[in-house]
Symmetry: C2
Subunit: 436 residues, 2 copies
């Protein structure tokens, strides 16, 4: 069933390779279909959207064999991937079940559409309400992580948006099979299948078309590495909700409780090294170089972390390799940490302003004034006091599933979940008022 | 005093014409200075920001003669402007006072920065707050309307942003004089003058530099005609908060009260024809062609409005000229209206979806179901029932001064005031929590 759905989308969409002209025509067809589907989804009831999501989760479970077969084709063809990339590409029974369960969780979220954010009663009797609406058509461009296909498709559906998905080319067949299941869910609930579409080719030029379809696509969400996001930001003529890298910092202040600092630092770096909220640079107040830093280095080294430090850090422990400026700028996403000794909270702030990516930064201190200074003066999407940067996550924030962590200043910052995939409009009700 | 301030900015900024290399260097200098000023403004107290605004209003009043002299230079040099453009360029005593009073009003607004939008207490004891922050550095590109210089500069300051202003070339000296007064206000309150800067040349290439300074500018706000906005959206590598045209519609339903419809239509079109909330197309339900449309046409014609109608409208009144598809797409900003007879609310919705610009649309009807259908199914920034589209205005919404009406889906829609010129961050307070 799933593979026949894949085939039917594939037939409707043409072959996997398009001549240059045909590709533009095909992308425009997809865009137009998405726009039409979005108009239907915008007024779909919560019950119908949830029915579609529930049916999609059921379809994912029922189609597990077909999805794993498609994934096996992708795995067999994959070349030149790192171990981490291969791991992200691979699906198994547990991961398919996790995708389905993720959709079950999205069903439970409140409907983010149709909420009244504000009501203004005007002296002239006009009643003005700000009411949430879907964004419309969302284009999501991501790397070869099949699970993102299910998460992003379901979140967009919950928020009443049509979505055009463009996954990494290594995950082409896996994503196609997953999208087929999601579309079966839409059809079961009587919603248009064009509400979830996958770009039907691995050709890179398709991304260029997607980024130029201003009449059909309302927002582009790139999710992936720095080069992908930079390309999208450079080329897109459509507004971009960017998820830039997470070069996150933990600053251990001179007034930090040592036991707490040790617990937080090793967790912030090593709990999972591949997530964007993992700490990449540890800054330590010069006042506690002797008292705190040796234990922090030892904890990290014992946990299997490579340590690259400035001169002051190298002097403390032979396991510390030299750090260069490149290290301050790097999001390792690996068991490596950069360590630098700084002169107090202001120097920590200065370092983070210069080298950070405005994602997540934490201070560990018992000094309330230092903490407030750090929280106030840094303008990252997330700033923390006495907590692990690994909490930078929509689920941990109580927001449910997320597409990622936005680091721009417009629209959404921090975890981007269903509520962040909405816009709003003003609804004005009068009784014949005219303006004087 | 004002002219010496102008001169001092002019000296600091170099001459009015830059060689190509020098222009890039100068724009980068301005950007870097704005970024540094923004860091100071972000933590400035409400009292200090208001003191700067108050001093700026005082300086505008004190500098009136210098501002009018600068405006006289601009008026003398202006060529090829329409009457409406010339009117917008001209300043007089009353208009300078109106700018100062506009700033007085901005002083009275609540500070939009530092507001807690949401608080989440997590089961693990983390306390997560979403707190408003300034956007950072805002670049505003506008036409030759000197008053926008004061409005935009003051609104950005209230929201804790540094601003780089690029006004139309015909208003170059007027804007320079106004900025000099605003900067004197900043200096009086001890804030960095670089928080408000004017691009110190009329060269068009300066805009290209501004749109590429991703490291210094957080958001670009274009305000003006369609071609300006389209250029900015096409070229900008910085996120754009766009104010597109207002091709607004009023739909008179078959169940409309005739007296109310007459009052609303003539107000929506003719109260002020040059504002973006003015109705440009009147749609009339075929059911009331005979009962309502003749009076509506007569009211508009008597008010001095040119009427361009479809065949059904032309058949009713000899004063109606023929309309073509181009009329459905046109924002006249003038005493001209396009009129079309449609088959009920769904046909009105279809027309607006096809030809509208997602700004403001109104339905006049006593039929509650038709009204709700119109309000729900149209996705313009502002939708109205039984009210004049001329209410599409931040002041009328109770939001205070505005930079304009945003028609995009991201960040802000509808009136953009001080609150819309902010972003937010998450502040997380813990007691040593680590993620399991």
């Amino acid at each position: 069933m799933a593979s026949s759905s894949v085939a039917s989308q594939s037939r409707a969409a043409g072959p996997n390779e398009f001549a240059s002209d045909a590709l533009g025509v095909e992308m425009a067809r997809i865009g137009r279909a998405a726009r039409a589907a979005a108009a239907e989804l915008a007024t779909a009831s919560t019950a119908i959207k949830n029915a579609a999501l529930g049916a999609a989760a059921t379809a994912l479970r029922a189609d597990r064999a077909a999805i794993l077969a498609a994934n096996a084709r992708d795995m067999a063809a994959a070349q030149g991937l790192t171990a981490a990339q291969t791991d992200r590409l691979r699906l198994d029974d547990g991961r398919v079940e996790a995708m389905a369960r993720g959709i079950d969780d999205i069903v439970k979220l409140d409907d983010p559409v149709g909420r009244t954010l504000a009501t203004m009663e005007r002296p002239n009797g006009l009643r003005i309400q700000r009411v949430t609406t879907p964004l419309g058509v969302v284009g999501i461009i991501y790397e070869s992580r099949p699970n993102v296909t299910a998460d992003a498709g379901a979140l967009c559906l919950k928020a009443g948006n049509a979505v055009i998905l463009r996954g990494g080319s290594e995950s082409f067949h896996s994503s196609g099979a997953i999208v087929a299941s999601l579309r079966r869910g839409l059809a079961t609930a009587g919603l248009p299948q064009e509400a979830i579409q996958l770009v039907p080719t691995r050709q890179r030029e398709a991304v260029g078309h997607l980024l130029a379809m201003t009449e059909f696509v309302d927002v582009i969400v790139p999710r992936g590495g720095k080069s992908l996001i930079e390309r999208v930001q450079r080329e897109s003529r459509i507004p971009v909700l960017a998820h830039l890298e997470g070069n996150c910092h933990t600053y251990v202040d001179g007034a930090a409780d040592l036991a707490m600092a040790r617990r937080i630092v090793v967790n912030a770096k090593m709990r999972r090294t591949g997530i964007c909220g993992a700490t990449e640079t540890l800054l330590v107040d010069r006042r506690c170089t002797a008292t705190h830093l040796p234990a922090l280095i030892d904890d990290l080294a014992r946990a299997g972390c490579e340590i690259r430090g400035d001169a002051a850090t190298q002097a403390l422990d032979k396991r510390v390799k030299p750090a260069s400026d490149a290290d301050w700028a790097t999001e390792y996403l690996d068991a490596i940490i950069a360590v630098r000794v700084v002169d107090g909270v202001d120097a920590a702030i200065e370092h983070i302003r210069r080298w950070g990516s405005n994602h997540t930064e934490a201070i560990v201190t018992e000094d309330a004034a230092a903490a407030e200074r750090f929280l106030n003066r840094l303008d990252s999407a997330i700033v923390m006091h006495n907590a692990s940067t690994q909490f930078a996550d929509g689920g941990e924030f109580g927001m449910g599933a997320e597409i990622g962590i936005a680091t721009g200043k417009l629209h959404a910052r921090g975890p981007v979940g269903a509520a962040e995939l909405t816009s709003f409009k003003y609804v004005v009700r009068g009784a014949g008022q005219v303006r004087s």
